[in-house]
Amino acid sequence: MSHALVAPSDRLLATVVTERGGAARLAGAVRDAGLDVVVVGADRFDPADHGGPRVDPSVVALELGRVAPELGVLVAVAPTRDHPYNTARRILSIDHLLGGRAGVLLGGPDRYTVPAASGTAWGSAPEDDRLLDEYAAVLRGLWSTWPVESIVADRETGVYAESGSIRRLDHEGSWRIAGALTSPTSPQGEPVLAVLSGLGPVPHADLVVDVLRVDDLDAIGRDGSDPRRTSRPNGPNESTTLRTRLGLAPRRLDLTDARPAFATTGGTR
């Protein structure tokens, strides 16, 4: 089963960075339509060229979530866009800053990523959809390397984190990634990992998403085609994680068999 989620066009997203109060206006239109989740940046997956301005999805998603505590955000990400370590770090950072209201929408191809942009230190970025699940697996693994409960910050003993529970990833595949990630685990276990409908199977994904592109503030939610609209009778709740809103249980990848990242279990003296 797939979810249909509203995805403001690049033209609408650009107003978030160009207009004073633009983020609040867009978030307000989403809220007024009875919705509490948006996809940010899905125009890059659209085969049609809509032209006009375009902006970085991760920046706009953080801004929307920051000014609208009732909103959850899914950032459109193609594996060709950035190295998975960079993506994992940025998305988990955004998720922390939004109190567990963030995730990614994996998709592709990304019409704005230019394949000739070679020269990445890690070699040419894979472009095959079949690598989506490997990318998803790497994101999940990195997101789970540093359990947040290891941060005990015990002033008496000098143990900031029980670092023995931090795991390496040691991923070997299209990418070779040691880990651990620089951020501890999310308030929702892991950020949501959605995949665009119509792509190959991605077993690591939480859900499949159909995007409902809107290019007009007044049109958001008007066609009534977001089935979630009626499924949330109590109105937006600021403390609800994105996973909860989407009916997903908290989860983490089990890395107990992975190698410890550090030799010691914490403490400095």
Partner: protein, 438 residues
Amino acid sequence: MTDGGLILGVNLQGFGQRPAAWRTQDVAGTDLVAPGFWEHIGRVAERGLLDMVFFADHPALADPNVRPLGLLEPFTALQTIAGVTEHLGLVGTASTTYNDPLELAERLLTLDTLSGGRLAWNAVTTYAPDVSANYGLTANPPRPERYARAGEFVDLVTALWRSAATGETVHHRGPVFELDARLEVPVSAQGHPVVFQAGGSPQGRDLAARIAEGVFAVELTPGPAREHARAVKDAAARYGRDPESVRIVPGLSLVLGSTEREAQDRYDALEALAPDGHALRSLGSHLDADLSVFSPDDRLPAEVIDHPIDPATYGPSLGYHETVTTWAREQTAAGATVRDLVRQFGGYGARIVVGTPEQAADTIEEWYRTGAADGFNLMIDEFPRGLETVADHLVPILQERGLFRRSYEEPTLRGRLRASVGAARSYRGRDTTERITA
């Protein structure tokens, strides 16, 4: 008295530059991922009229028990700070070794536009083996290769930023990158992000002279600092630039107290709680020597301080190495033991002032007046507490001395950095006796 043009930034290093800063303040361990922690810091920095906040970056997890920092990707934390400030500049570090130029250019210009033209990119190359291992490399790219890539990367990013204004597609054919693209991000109030450079190798300084508008320098003593600043500015002039368009901003570590005794006691208390041997290991890595074999009362032999290194294979920063070696040589000649060196190395390569706000202002004024620095990137003992001390006790002294602004004037970071050129010229040109008696 008006703005003397001094540039002040603050280097946001977790709970503070002192490794034990989380043990001496009322903070929660997870504050480093909490938006409220960063929002408070942003508000205090803006209350102090600072030019900018700065994040270094290390995209690999080091043992958080040594010093917890870097739990958020820098530009996401900067965006959080941008949301609660109006004037503060926002400087984030991103490696040219481990990023994609098109992705980075689009993301940073988007944030620059959102923030009203307050963003800067500190372009660095990365030498750390633990970072390389996260990006599929078993060894660090050699320095010449890193800098060749860095130069082409920065040129490509700035060309892409310009394409957002001109609408003309960039057709780039270089040794490392091939790209036909243009950005369609709305142009920011300052055109595009300011570019800073950090790193004191010959290649790094050349990159700074060619393209940077600011340099995060590593200096321990004013003499060499003045020479390095002059060299970069002269090199900028050879590239046809106004030499003063490159602003030199060394790090400056601060441990402040209402009396010198109080500051010293605070420093000693913080260091006693730090991980064993932290400063010693840091000093040793910059000198490329294992210092644990010496007793605290030893004086370092000359061959340990001055042994030759091969710039092609030595991994860490050449700028740090040069600065620290020069300093250790001078200190040891003056009788310093290993214990003395370690204690005075509390800035980990930057000058440290342990004293009163007046004493910090004295150092700042001396360096600034004599052209050893155009400003400082402050490395403060504790966050948020030490930053509050700077805003409320150090900044007023700098204002009294005619060094620092009393209000924000320029709306963008680039505008402010450019305005500092004329203000500095005017300040340094003033007659010293008039300034003291005024």
